[in-house]
């Protein structure tokens, strides 16, 4: 079956006074119907920017989607007109953002903001939209949905706001839900609730989900596949189990090694990756992870390796030395 979305060589840059920031450097991957994809990486690696690029929400000066294709349901989103892409936004692809307090307009009621999408995309009138909105609020687990319709964002708690955002995103039954760090700003207990909510909704509605986060712990239990991003490129990609059990890229190893684990003996030191991410304006040629990599050699500084298929099906990695590293028996 054809994938829902196929991204080829997406490249996004920002032109600033200090230089051109290469935020996303030619990434390619596919997303299937009903798949939950985790996009993992540290701050500044381009995961959010690439999602915004898909929705064409990048501010055009100073930003620029300079190359690539985003084939969604048979159409290249990057080539659509302004009017066409607007009908995709909210209706076929919906997005949930990180900070629900600032992502909701403080001067309008929550109910109004959710109804807006329904009125726009589903041609409902106000009454129908209100009914549907209350159903949605109920669906995402907001108690007393009927009276909550007329509440303002500041009257909701953090977790409830995020639920409302999810309701807004799901209102037009999109094929893809992009969630950009939706739980980062929330308490840990609320995090779990939201994650369970999304998993439940995904099973019920059958949509695809892209879950963007820097937290490897979260994705382990919820996604099917993972893209690991670093400095604008995807450096490893594969099924969840393969990534965790047969890690190939040194960066991913570093990420996993830095996670505290219940199974390990207490007192064991957490491994951290020395150094800092590269300057996206002065990206060095070759592998972006070069400066911090324990396994680097001269070739890594000069040439960038493309994603190459690893031992398992669907598991790929962008590293020159992955076979040798595997042989060294690290895991």
């Amino acid at each position: 079956m054809k994938p829902l979305m196929e991204i080829k060589n997406l490249t996004t840059r920002f032109h600033t006074q200090d230089g051109t920031v290469n935020a996303v450097n030619g990434i390619s991957y596919t997303l299937d119907h009903g798949e939950i994809l985790g996009v993992v990486g540290e701050s500044g690696c381009g995961k959010s920017v690439h999602a915004l690029s898909i929705m064409r929400l990048i501010q055009i000066p100073p930003g620029e989607i300079s190359a690539g294709e985003v084939i969604f349901d048979g159409r290249d989103l990057l080539k659509l007109s302004e009017k066409e892409i607007r009908s995709v936004r909210g209706r076929e692809i919906a997005m949930v953002f990180q900070d629900p307090m600032s992502s909701l307009n403080p001067v309008y009621t929550v109910g109004f903001q959710i109804s807006e999408a329904l009125i726009l995309h589903k041609n409902m009138n106000k009454r129908q939209a209100k009914e549907r909105t209350i159903e949605l609020l109920d669906l995402v687990g907001i108690p007393e949905a009927g009276s909550r319709f007329n509440c303002y964002p500041h009257q909701f708690s953090g977790g409830m706001r995020q639920r409302a955002m999810i309701a807004m995103a799901l209102s037009c039954e999109p094929k893809l839900l992009i969630a950009d760090e939706p739980t980062t700003a929330l308490d840990v207990t609320i995090q779990a609730q939201i994650i369970n909510l999304v998993i439940g909704l995904q099973q019920e509605l059958g949509m695809s989900v892209m879950w963007i986060t820097h937290d490897l712990g979260i994705v382990a239990e919820m996604v099917h596949r993972i893209n690991v991003m670093y400095a604008g490129s995807i450096i490893e990609r594969g099924l969840v189990d393969d990534i965790y059990n047969n890690t190939l890229h040194p960066y991913t190893m570093g990420l996993l090694g830095s996670l505290p684990s219940i199974d390990e003996a207490p007192g064991k030191k957490l491994i951290s990756i020395p150094g800092l991410p590269p300057d996206l304006i002065d990206l060095p040629p070759g592998c972006p992870f070069f400066a911090r990599c324990t396994y680097r050699e001269e070739r890594c500084a000069k040439e960038l390796q493309e994603l190459e298929n690893g031992p398992e099906e669907g598991h790929s990695v962008a590293c020159w030395r992955w076979r040798e590293i595997q042989k060294m028996g690290v895991s």
Binding site: T16, Q17, D18, M253, G257, I271, G275, L276, P277, P278, D279, D282, P284, A291, T294, R296, E297, E298, M328, V330
Partner: protein
């Protein structure tokens, strides 16, 4: 994982970027802003011409009269009818307008600088203190000072009524006493109020009795009230509220009217105009400083400094003042522009420079009656002078705002 790291010689840490100082960044941004540069050039021309005219091109306004050359249109070349060059023409008294415009610049510059300095210093300090004490706890000394001040000023009323300045002092002491109360009164606020009220009553009544029974009554009642108010030491918010209320009162008068009123009170003359414009501007800087201070004191570095135990003075000068400079500098530049405009307005109404001192607004005020007879030059050039100098400062101020605004930092 192995611990060994292969050593490679020219390993540069790509992540280290050059450290940039805030001011250098701002300066660079300013330079690259075209309109700001135009403003800077205009300001430079204005300042240079005014200064050099004042020091090098002597002009005695009282001696400058030439009835023979009244209201002559601009003359660029010497000819039979007009033996002298008048680039901007002459005015109703035959004076060369160009010369008066250039010298008028010096007056405008002076007015602007003095007025802004007055507004900035007084308003800035008031706003700084108001904002700071509103958000910080006062230490003992400050509290004592504040309570003493309140006691002194409130006590001035009964003191004046009974002609006994000592009452004022006594209430000031009562205020200090409220800060250093004996321990047994610490938590019993009702008892405190009672005690202080009675003491206040006694101060008023006993002093007033020397003058007369009614005076004793009135002063006693006042003293009671003051004592009750002084019972509990107030926080810095009271100080801030008082200051900002006074600023509000000044602000409820439209600025032009207030300036006119002050000048009418002080008398004509450029110096009085400077003071008037300066006073009118005080609340603007006070409000600005206060809101800037409030936004800074909420930042963590101030809280950190306080928790380490840095004194108020140090916190003020090391942390707060440097961070509120930006909006104040921007406001001062635009304030200069406004001051020049206000001075011209006052001059136009006849309230500014005393004739025959050259001042742009006064020149306009003199000459606009002659517009109907066609003397457009007497009106055009002084006005253009006002406009360009004000525009220059506004452009510069605008550019400064863009350059200093931290939100623009990528």
């Amino acid at each position: 994982m192995t611990e060994k790291t292969p050593v490679l010689d020219d390993l540069t840490d790509f992540a280290v970027r050059e450290h940039r100082s805030l001011w250098l960044d701002a300066w660079r941004r300013l330079i690259s802003n075209r309109t700001a540069m135009i403003g800077l050039i205009v300001v430079a021309i204005f300042v240079l011409s005014a200064v050099s005219a004042h020091f090098f091109w002597k002009y005695d306004a009282k001696m400058d009269l030439d009835y023979g050359a009244k209201l002559v249109a601009p003359v660029l070349r010497v000819s039979e009818e007009s033996p002298e060059i008048h680039i901007f023409g002459t005015d109703k008294l035959g004076r060369d307008i160009f010369r008066r415009v250039v010298h008028g610049g010096w007056n405008s510059l002076r007015v602007g600088l003095v007025a802004v300095t007055i507004s900035l210093t007084i308003g800035g300090i008031l706003g700084l203190l108001a904002g700071f004490f509103e958000s910080t706890d006062l230490n003992r000394l400050e509290q004592s000072l504040l309570m003493a001040g309140i006691g002194l000023s409130l006590g001035a009323l009964p003191a004046w009524i009974a002609r006994q300045p000592i009452q004022s002092l006594l209430f000031a002491l009562l205020g200090v006493a409220s800060v250093s109360t004996p321990a047994f009164l610490e938590n019993k606020s009702r008892l405190r109020r009672l005690v202080f009220g009675i003491i206040g009553l006694l101060i008023g009544a006993l002093s007033g009795i020397f003058v007369g029974p009614m005076v004793a009554l009135v002063c006693g009642v006042l003293g009671l009230g003051i004592g009750l108010l002084l019972a509990k030491p107030v926080g810095g918010k009271v100080f801030s509220n008082i200051v900002m209320r006074i600023m509000d009162i000044i602000l409820s008068f439209p600025s032009y009217l207030l300036a006119i009123a002050i000048v009418a009170f002080l008398g004509p003359g450029l110096e009085k105009g400077m003071i008037a414009i300066g006073v009118v501007g005080i609340p603007i800087y006070a409000r600005l400083a206060r809101s800037a201070v409030l936004s800074v004191t909420q930042k963590e570095y101030v809280l950190a400094a306080q928790s380490v135990g840095e004194g108020h003075g140090r916190i003020l000068f090391k942390h707060i003042v440097p961070n509120i400079l930006s909006p104040i500098i921007v406001q001062a530049t635009m304030g200069l522009a406004n001051a020049i405009l206000s001075a011209a307005a006052l001059g136009f109404l006849g309230l500014g420079a005393i004739p025959p001192e050259p001042e742009w607004g006064a020149m306009l005020g003199d000459s606009y009656k002659y517009l109907s007879s066609g003397a457009w030059w007497a009106v055009l050039f002084p006005g253009l002078a006002i406009m360009f100098s004000v525009l220059g400062f506004n452009l510069l101020g605008d550019g400064l705002r863009d350059a200093l605004d931290p939100k623009m930092r990528v």
